[in-house]
């Protein structure tokens, strides 16, 4: 399928394609109510409550007032609908803002101002510098004479560097205002942001109307920004939601936490139990009616009943038992969940001072899942790293700078050398400043900023500027440099571009003053050092490279050579020829470059650090200790990725860790590689070893397409994986694979390229970082720094899970408690479906008496935050769902059954004979339940704050106060009852008996398990509160620091050939790296000892 875009032709493409209106909304005004209700009723619980509420409208069977169900039900639905509606309205507003943005469109050679939403396919859109691109465009003109323009694509793929885009050669030199007609033949909209295979044919009057092929290089896509280019214009090819960005923007599904699903499951189980009860009691009731009730003359059962008579008793029991499923649970959960979210928003310790951002929970419903995370998929750049390359050390002419201070820019020796004009240093700085493709931009205030395709180059230029070698201006081919206040100009003659095979890049410049022609080179050590002048000693440089690599720095060797005029002229001809060759161009160019790049004078080695964010290694270590598997998904190259993975403890060095590489260009290669890795993985799986696999985007594509099953198996075996050069949609696919294996995934990223992954994952976390806010906006949680993830998961996630686990089971417990009493009572009331409790009590019991105390469980803390941070392994209880599962639920079920028996038996025996008045007895049983539940909450509460006491004991007092108030109303059924009861000594003795009999065994059992079958949580609780050894461990902060110190020397022993390879981050270069490790041999690191984990236990022993 193709689409034909007729340039500037309104008639031909008017209604064929959609307009440029972006819509992210879920509802319209018309379909809001039905669609929202439909969505709400697709949840089983809601259907159930609706059914119950409808049944209650039938007075013959209802035991209580229908308002007691309808009121809460309508309230719940109204709250949910309002929330959804509000969210959608906000989406509508932000869409509207984008849609109504003013853009310039060129029609018949005249520029017009229209709204972004009115752009049609075929329109020519005219953009100025720093404009956001409103839809996908094919470039047809720019302000640049060579037809270049620069775009920032971070919103699309997360890469912050500027990309060059070029107009198709057919449009070259044509004034866009004259460009009237033409056709672009392009594929139907897709989401692939790296491909655009289309053709352009210009219609007459242009002579050159051959087919002109178009690639992604000729496009500028929606949401990119035009940079460093005065203006550009392009033909709209995809608009609205059909743009590449729009297509890759998946519809975010509403997320349901594992806890919610478990609650739904338990609800289903309770529902089945309820049906069984109803059937049994219904049959028993009908039998009793036909045998016994006919003899009970005072009941006056009619001999002939209506046709539905057999159904009446079962339906009555259905309504009587409907309280088994607590309607309050949804309200309670919504309430506490929004409180969890608020706690995240409020958390001072997750406030990032540097950027002034606080943590934010956009999705208030999924905090529990944070505590159950099993896989974290993380982006690299900007997430783990600060996305800031910094020049750290250098070695110039055998002298090391920056070794003492750790920062060459602060090394006085180097500064002295710069001031004194040491020739070695000046040449070194010249290469740093000139040998690049950086564009300096002078702002109005006079300060200079640099835009570079490679962060490395930017770092070098910046460092040079700090050392008084300031790259001031680039004017076409003339570079201006300000050294110590004197201006120097260089003319760029040729640029020998970087390729991953050459591993170096060079420029040939001509000093405008002296007329000397110089070749400046920089590159990886193995690409530069062998080309050194045979007379020069290179040993000191390779030692420097080794030393820097051991420190985890990226190294670049800088070199130069003065060329003879003749030599250059001669070479230049061959170079031009090679550059215009059609066959094997890359290879031929490389070969020609080789001819020039020899006999270098090595100037020195520069070491660059891509700084990790603060606390990243500690965070990863802690979270890995918590049993969370880490995957790093990055668009970056393998080496960079590995380097970062190592320095942030993602992969452990040998012998603890092992790296397996999956590579290959063809199906077979990938398959073989995959099989081999899987085999290794299986065999090493039994050993306590961290095995990680490394895969690149190309192999991943093949693996996902053809060997999905194998890959999935591999994915589950591996605790760590590093995926390089993956596209946004591959990231999302990886998330999907892990998710489909029933693992809880958390995706964390900071750029627009992570949005899909974030939306796909169970939990999406966005870092509101330098790359803008796309990720943070799409995410469920946004944090300022990666290190806050630790607190988000271990503190907030864990507490949320624990609290919800208790709250939900408790909700079932209290509902079952009162329901069991009703069931027992039905056996002594002729199985006729009489309710022991009156409507007011029942409604108040569920929505008030028992809901208030349990709400403060949202403040409960079983372990202090510090203990959890010190023992992240404790998260296992949450991940495995140890606190909320059918067996814990069975415990609560048993407890409610036991308590119901206690309350019921004591009530009917203590209040027998002359006291067996219905209203009194019902209040005795009810107060028994209230007392028991207060003590249950108290027993299950781990930390009592003022609020807990207030809620638990205040609620108990509130129960009496409310009932006293109701008892003063003459019209109520329980008039004076509560006063009568409270005057009776036997009432109070009955209450104490119930509490003792109900709580005694529960306490005894809990004590026994706590002391003799203690869980890890219990042990830590005991240790924490008895001031055991754990408390004397001291602050958590120093401990990970010591880990870091110990981790650094590990890298020292790394062999040289594994050192980082210089690779500017040219993200557009199509080929992937395929070297550094032998094909598939395990990537061995040497390490003396696995100190990382032993330090922990040693700390414990020390105390």
């Amino acid at each position: 399928m193709k689409r034909y875009v007729y340039i500037n032709d309104d008639e031909l493409s008017q209604d064929l394609y959609c307009d440029n209106r972006i819509s992210n909304t879920k509802y319209t005004i018309l379909n809001f109510l039905p669609k929202n209700l439909w969505e709400q009723f697709s949840r089983f619980m809601n259907q159930y409550f609706l059914l119950i509420a409808c049944l209650q409208l039938w007075p013959l069977i209802t035991p209580v007032n229908p308002a007691s169900t309808w009121g809460p039900l309508i309230f719940i639905f109204a709250v949910s609908a309002t929330k959804e509606g509000w969210d959608d309205y906000n989406r509508y507003l932000s869409d509207k803002k984008a849609n109504e943005k003013e853009v310039w469109v060129v029609k018949q050679g005249i520029k017009k101002h229209i709204q972004a939403q009115d752009i049609r396919v075929g329109n020519i859109v005219w953009l100025r510098e720093n404009d956001e691109v409103p839809c996908d465009l094919v470039l047809v003109g720019t302000s640049d004479l060579q037809g270049l323009c620069y775009v920032e694509t971070s919103a699309l793929d997360g890469e912050t560097d500027l990309k060059t885009r070029v107009i198709p050669h057919a449009c070259m030199g044509i004034d866009f205002e004259l460009l009237h007609k033409g056709v672009i033949e392009c594929p139907n909209p897709d989401k692939d942001i790296r491909r655009f295979d289309a053709n352009l044919r210009l219609f007459p009057p242009f002579i050159d109307n051959d087919l002109c092929p178009l690639t992604i290089k000729n496009t500028i896509l929606q949401s990119c920004y035009l940079r460093n280019t005065e203006w550009a214009c392009g033909v709209a090819v995809y608009t609205g939601n059909e743009t590449k960005l729009g297509m890759s923007r998946g519809v975010p599904e509403p997320k349901l936490t594992a806890v919610d699903m478990m609650i739904d499951k338990l609800t289903g189980a309770i529902f089945i139990f309820q049906i069984v009860v109803v059937i049994v009691l219904g049959i028993a009731g009908n039998v009793w009616k036909d045998t016994e009730a006919r003899k009970q003359w005072y009941v006056q059962y009619p001999n002939e009943g209506p046709w539905y008579e057999l159904l009446v008793i079962p339906l009555r029991f259905e309504l009587l038992c409907s309280i088994m499923i607590p309607i309050s649970i949804k309200v309670s959960l919504d309430l506490v969940k929004s409180l969890y979210a608020k706690f995240i928003d409020w958390d001072c310790e997750m406030f990032d001072i540097e950027t002034g951002t606080r943590a934010n929970a956009a999705n208030t419903a999924i905090s529990e899942d944070l505590g159950q995370v099993e896989y974290i998929l993380t982006d690299k750049t900007g997430t783990l790293t600060e996305n800031k390359m910094v020049f750290k050390r250098c070695c110039i002419g055998g002298i090391f700078y920056g070794n003492e201070t750790g920062d060459a820019l602060k090394d006085l020796e180097l500064l002295d050398a710069v001031v004194s004009g040491s020739p070695d240093v000046v040449r070194f700085l010249t290469v740093m400043a000139l040998c690049n493709t950086v564009i300096p931009i002078r702002s109005k205030s006079g300060s200079i900023s640099y835009k570079a395709q490679s962060q490395d180059e930017e770092a070098l230029v910046r460092a040079a500027a700090c050392l008084h070698m300031i790259f001031v201006n680039k004017n076409a081919n003339i570079l201006e440099i300000n050294y110590n206040g004197t201006m120097a100009q260089y003319e760029v003659l040729d640029t020998l571009e970087f390729t991953s095979d050459r591993k170096r890049m060079s420029v040939v410049v001509k000093d405008c003053k002296s007329g000397k022609i110089i070749l400046l080179s920089k590159g990886a050590d193995e690409a530069i050092l062998p080309c050194a002048n045979p007379g020069q000693q290179t040993r000191s440089f390779s030692e420097a490279v080794d030393q820097y690599a051991q420190l985890g720095l990226r190294t670049l060797c800088l070199a130069w050579r003065v060329l003879e005029e003749d030599e250059y002229q001669e070479w230049s001809l061959i170079f031009k020829e090679a550059n215009s060759s059609l066959v094997d161009r890359e290879w031929r160019v490389a070969e020609v470059c080789q001819r020039l790049e020899h006999g270098f004078e090595i100037l020195g080695v520069a070491a660059i650090e891509d700084r990790l964010q603060d606390g990243v290694p500690e965070t990863i270590t802690t979270l890995r200790k918590a049993g969370i598997n880490f995957w790093m998904l990055t668009g970056d190259k393998q080496n960079t990725a590995l380097q970062i993975a190592l320095s942030c403890n993602l992969v452990s060095p040998e012998p603890k860790g092992q790296l397996l590489l999956i590579n290959g260009k063809t199906d077979d290669e990938v398959c073989r590689s995959l099989e081999r890795v899987l085999l290794t993985m299986r065999t090493t799986n039994s050993e306590p070893k961290d095995v990680a696999f490394v895969i690149d985007g190309w192999a991943l594509e093949i693996a996902l397409r053809h060997y999905r099953k194998t890959f999935t198996e591999l994915a589950l075996l591996s605790r760590t994986a590093i995926c390089c050069r993956v596209t946004p949609s591959q990231k999302a696919q990886l998330v999907y694979i892990i998710k489909s294996c029933e693992y809880k995934t958390l995706a964390i990223g900071d750029g627009g390229n992570d949005v899909r992954m974030i939306q796909q994952a169970d939990i999406g976390v966005g870092i509101s970082g330098r790359e803008g806010l796309q990720a943070a906006r799409a995410a469920d949680y946004s944090i300022g720094k990666f290190r806050f993830l630790k607190r988000l998961i271990l503190v907030h996630g864990r507490y949320s899970y624990n609290r919800t686990a208790f709250l939900s089971q408790y909700s079932f417990y209290k509902s079952l408690l009162i329901c069991f009493i009703q069931i027992f009572f039905s056996f002594i009331s002729g199985v006729s479906g009489t309710s022991l409790f009156n409507s007011v009590s029942l409604m108040a019991y569920n929505t008030f008496y028992t809901s208030i105390p349990v709400l403060v469980s949202a403040l409960d803390k079983d372990l202090s935050e510090r203990t959890v941070m010190q023992h992240p392994q404790i998260l296992f209880y949450c991940q495995a769902g140890r606190l909320l599962n059918p067996s814990t639920f069975a415990g609560w079920f048993g407890r409610s059954l036991f308590h119901a028996i206690v309350v019921f038996l004591i009530t009917i025996h203590a209040y027998a004979y002359e006291r067996s008045e219905m209203e009194e007895m019902s209040m005795v049983a009810l107060s028994g339940c209230i007392w028991l539940q207060a003590f249950v909450v108290a027993l299950e509460t781990n930390s009592f704050t003022v609020l807990q006491h207030l809620a638990i004991w205040g609620n108990l007092a509130g129960f009496y106060i409310i009932n006293w108030i109701v008892s003063t109303l003459p019209s109520s059924g329980m008039h004076t009852i509560m006063f009568r009861l409270c005057r009776q000594p036997s009432y109070w003795t009955t209450m104490f008996l119930m509490v003792a009999a109900g709580m005694g065994p529960v306490l005894a059992l809990k004590y026994f398990r706590y002391t003799y079958r203690s869980s890890k949580i219990n042990i830590l609780q005991q240790a924490e509160r008895l001031g055991g050894p754990i408390l004397t461990l001291g602050n958590i902060e120093p401990q990970p620091r010591s880990l870091e110190k110990e981790a650094t020397p590990l890298l020292l022993i790394q062999p040289k050939n594994r050192s980082p390879v210089h690779e500017p981050l040219l993200s557009d270069s199509p080929n992937t790296t395929r070297r550094s490790f032998g094909s598939g041999t395990p990537f061995d690191f040497f390490q003396s000892q696995s100190r990382l984990s032993s330090s922990y236990s040693r700390n414990c022993k020390d105390n």
């Binding site: 306590p688 002359e914 008895l1026």
Partner: protein, 349 residues
Amino acid sequence: MMNSNAPSSSSGGAGSTDSSAPRRNSKRPKYSRFTQQELPACKPILTPRWVISAFMLVSIVFIPIGVASLFASRDVVEIIDRYETDCIPQGVSDKVQYIQTPGDKPCNRTLTVPKYMKQPIYVYYQLDNFYQNHRRYVKSRSDQQLKYPADEDETSACEPEDKVNGVAIVPCGLIAWSLFNDTYNFSLNNTQLPINKMGISWKSDRENKFGKDVYPKNFQNGTLIGGANLTASIPLSKQEDLIVWMRTAALPTFRKLYGKIEMDLQENDTIQVTLQNNYNTYSFNGKKKLVLSTTTWLGGKNDFLGIAYLTVGGLCFFLAMAFTLVYLVKPRRLGDPSYLSWNRNPGGH
């Protein structure tokens, strides 16, 4: 971690960060102990000492209370006389038919006072296997009608005893209709023993539930006669037997107050009871009992509370002892980190 001159902030342009620092910090969440979840908290844990003393305490408190309530219950003197079978004359085979035939059905019973009974002595009738709590029965009343003369026609809940020939029954419903109608006359040494039937119902019921100006109307006029009839000239608030009966019992075995004997009875006194056996419990094999009982601070004769208290107290004592024993025999250090499995084999769990 939170101090404002964090090392990382110095790496950027120093001037710009400083100037914007106050603005940025203004976004900082406000600190309060609640928002940071740092409210001062007491975190009790189940230490052996705590648990054992709790159980000990319960047993120490419960056993005396149990003994006291058992004594209280034993102090109550109770005379129970089951009469429904004995009051059927010899030779009557169909009890139901006998009871349903109109006419006097007198029956004489003799009760011996086993122990000195101090006044007031409560006279109850006890019915067994009578489901006043049956759903059909318990709902069959109209509180509106009982209270307000104007709401005479509020009989929708009273079905099937709501109307006779289209005229509302007052009081309507099955409960009133089935009013208990056995009567008792007591005599001690051939002198009439006065029964005080005033004040046997709840004061609140007389004053608030049953209207002073609501008179029985059309009562027991239907084809089926249920229980007792009511004097049409006495307002409902004075019909105390009805008021007592209308306080439905939650259990199928219940006692209702018939009256009070306001004089002491000596040991071995013989009480002659002349009763009218009118109420039909024969169709459903219900028992009828006449009960005379004194009362104590804990109410009537009921050993349950005493026994339950002793049992619970004893069990708690036993548990306390058992836990102490286990604690002494097999002490276990609380919170020993060596119990943490990840400390034993690092790396896995």
